[in-house]
Subunit: 415 residues, 2 copies
């Protein structure tokens, strides 16, 4: 595990700093913004030594910092607008000066190492894809979430960033997840499982079966452990579980709902009779600890992987504690050089396996698809060419820096 005090060895354009770059915290996203968000950020600074910069309406932030007695100790970058919780992809274009857009700009400028936001997932994903762009070689980004298994957490991706995925996309998710798990678990070769409906290789839908073939065919840097099933989300059988954003999102919400229901029913059962209530008093502390561990509000949130910068998306309902965890996680990933690791991991995957499906072609453009359905443009993009926009997506480029000037945020003013 990379120590907290270690300076991040990040991209060359960033100044060689003794101290790590701060984490940009979006103070305007989330159900309990700005109060709980700022409280969580202050806690991260005070108790965990994480450097942060607060992005949002400066007067509001100052008022909150005043309550914590930390005015002048934490830098503030002003932003006028917030992404509304209901806003999706379009908001990212309509609001070039939103707090999330400004925070992304800080990362691009090398003034922050990562972004933490509890804003609407769709809005944060769209804005950061637009502002930070996809990493070289990464076809589609994925949201990785950490499940509360023991002794090591299990990483599930994609939890909802990319819903219609090709088999090749799932292989890349395996590479993204491997890079993430290396930092989080300290394992050199974390085991990767493919989420499907049976343990045998032939089980699954068409996309999953093909992804299994690709993953099993060779493994430059990916320790493929075969298929896993729904009950493995909490079994700790592997460190990384790979699936498409549709299945992953449904599975994650199902798991959270089931745990919540189990606890709520148990609480009812425990207080349904006088002796049971007496029993509940005796167990209160242990059960609270357990509840805390399994509660999405503590382990929850996700990391958007595959962009030119680390984006940690906390639950919309995050209280201070969840924001503190998110800041710590962002700090750890930045210190672990997640973007560079992903670049290396994906490059290794391309060398070993992309050759199999592009038949050695260097450029996806002249690739002859095997089947008509292969014609959708979710191809392995040859860097550094700009990606073609995909169906149902806003037409901004994922790679390359060709977004119209007017949609770029003006340089933020720091206080």
């Amino acid at each position: 595990m990379t120590g907290k005090g270690e300076p991040p060895r990040t991209a060359a354009r960033r100044p060689a700093a003794v101290r790590p770059l701060p984490i940009a915290v979006d103070t305007m996203g989330g159900d309990h913004a700005p109060g709980e968000v700022i409280a969580g950020a202050v806690e991260a600074v005070r108790e965990h030594g994480v450097r942060v910069v607060l992005v949002g309406r400066a007067p509001l932030i100052r008022r909150e910092l005043d309550r914590h007695g930390t005015v002048g100790q934490i830098p503030i970058v002003h932003a006028d607008e917030a992404l509304d919780m209901g806003e999706g992809a379009l908001a990212s274009r309509r609001k070039p000066r939103s707090s999330v857009a400004i925070a992304c700009h800080l990362i691009k400028q090398g003034r922050a190492s990562a972004l933490v936001s509890a804003g609407s997932t769709a809005g944060v994903v769209a804005t950061s894809r637009l502002r930070l762009k996809g990493q070289q070689g990464v076809m589609r980004p994925a949201i990785a979430v950490t499940l509360p298994t023991r002794p090591r957490p299990t990483i599930l991706l994609d939890a909802g960033a990319t819903v219609d995925v090709k088999p090749e996309g799932l292989v890349q998710f395996a590479a993204l997840g491997t890079a993430y798990a290396q930092i989080l678990t300290d394992l050199e070769r974390p085991r990767v499982g493919l989420l499907t409906i049976g343990s045998e290789p032939g089980k699954g839908d068409k996309v999953t079966k093909r992804a299994h073939e690709l993953l099993a065919g060779g493994s430059h840097g990916i320790e493929f452990a075969g298929n896993v099933e729904g009950h493995d989300l909490l079994s700790g059988a592997v460190e990384v579980i790979v699936t498409d954003g549709f299945t992953g999102n449904v599975a994650l919400k199902t798991m959270e709902g089931a745990i919540r229901t189990a606890f709520s029913e148990i609480r009812t059962a425990m207080t349904s009779s006088p002796p049971a209530r007496m029993g509940a008093l005796l167990q209160r502390r242990r059960l609270q600890e357990l509840r805390d561990r399994l509660d999405p509000d503590s382990y929850g949130g996700g990391v958007l992987l595959g962009l030119n910068g680390t984006v940690v998306i906390a639950h919309g309902a995050s209280h201070a504690r969840a924001i503190t965890s998110a800041c710590e996680l962002a700090h750890r990933l930045a210190a672990g050089r997640i973007v560079e690791r992903i670049r290396e991991q994906v490059a290794a995957t391309r060398t070993s396996r992309f050759g199999r499906w592009t038949h050695g072609e260097r450029d996806g453009a002249d690739k002859t698809p095997d089947k008509p359905s292969d014609r959708t443009p979710d191809k392995p993009a040859a860097p550094p060419a700009a990606d073609t926009p995909r169906e149902g997506e806003p037409p901004w480029p994922l790679n390359g820096d060709t977004s119209p000037e007017r949609s770029e945020p003006r340089p933020p003013r720091t206080e």
Copy 2:
């Protein structure tokens, strides 16, 4: 709810019986066969007045019945072979005299109303698809499972019978689920939700988004309540949750795994200190009741809908209690005329909505697909023409009765 004593108004070829037809119980499927299976069937007969016929190795069955003191009271039909637990689709062709195949034959002959098996899901699904054939008008069958919500159960389908589904297939699943829920919940118009990744209509993958359009476009007999998400599996928000067999299987196993983990962790927490252990003693009974309700072994198993006969698939790990529940469920569905209800429901759906996607054509054969990817043969089949075999499936017909004579089981001998 249809009373238990009511004779089933089933297909014309069945003799008009005063008593309902028996349930054929496969005594050779499941981890605890034949002992627990027969014990469960005996319980269903004794305590719940369900008529059963036991299918399997006659000497073994007689020995077990002897232990329960019920020799001569429950009919036995001999079958030589069992489907192995690991066996999948191919076994159904290789073993025309398996206990499941013989049980299906009893249904076709009008000598049983339904089949109960705890055998391998893949094997039971494949065998009953081959032997019973798909119902007229039903494109693909689905496995419906009952989730332990209150006050009414929630039905989730498909839990794994059909993994690559078209939007039209999801609409049909809504019809199958509606028919099932009508019997199980006594509601005339049970609410149907579409499982996806957000409540707004535009959320989901391509298939789900299109299915939403079709379901929202009109509703002859389907009470479409919009999108539901993973946490709604246990929220009781709707009576029927529709999804493809891949997502449904992953979600179901995720839910079961999460509930098991929660209980196991809670047990650990409850017994981790002397006062907590004391508390646990005081709550034992209530928690056991709750555990029983949420345990897949009691609510678990699924019903294969869309064939010319009712097939209840119990968990492979079923003990006697689960088999008894499965027999009761099979009895209830047969008494509720599930096959006829599905026929009516699907016919209503075709009238109202199939017209939308086939543009009024009566025969799917000359339908011009909109996109190349639409060319997969999961088309709305025009009955009574035999279905084209689908990719990855054994080439037997789903509709029509054209299977080769040699694969038909010989008439079983009854004792």
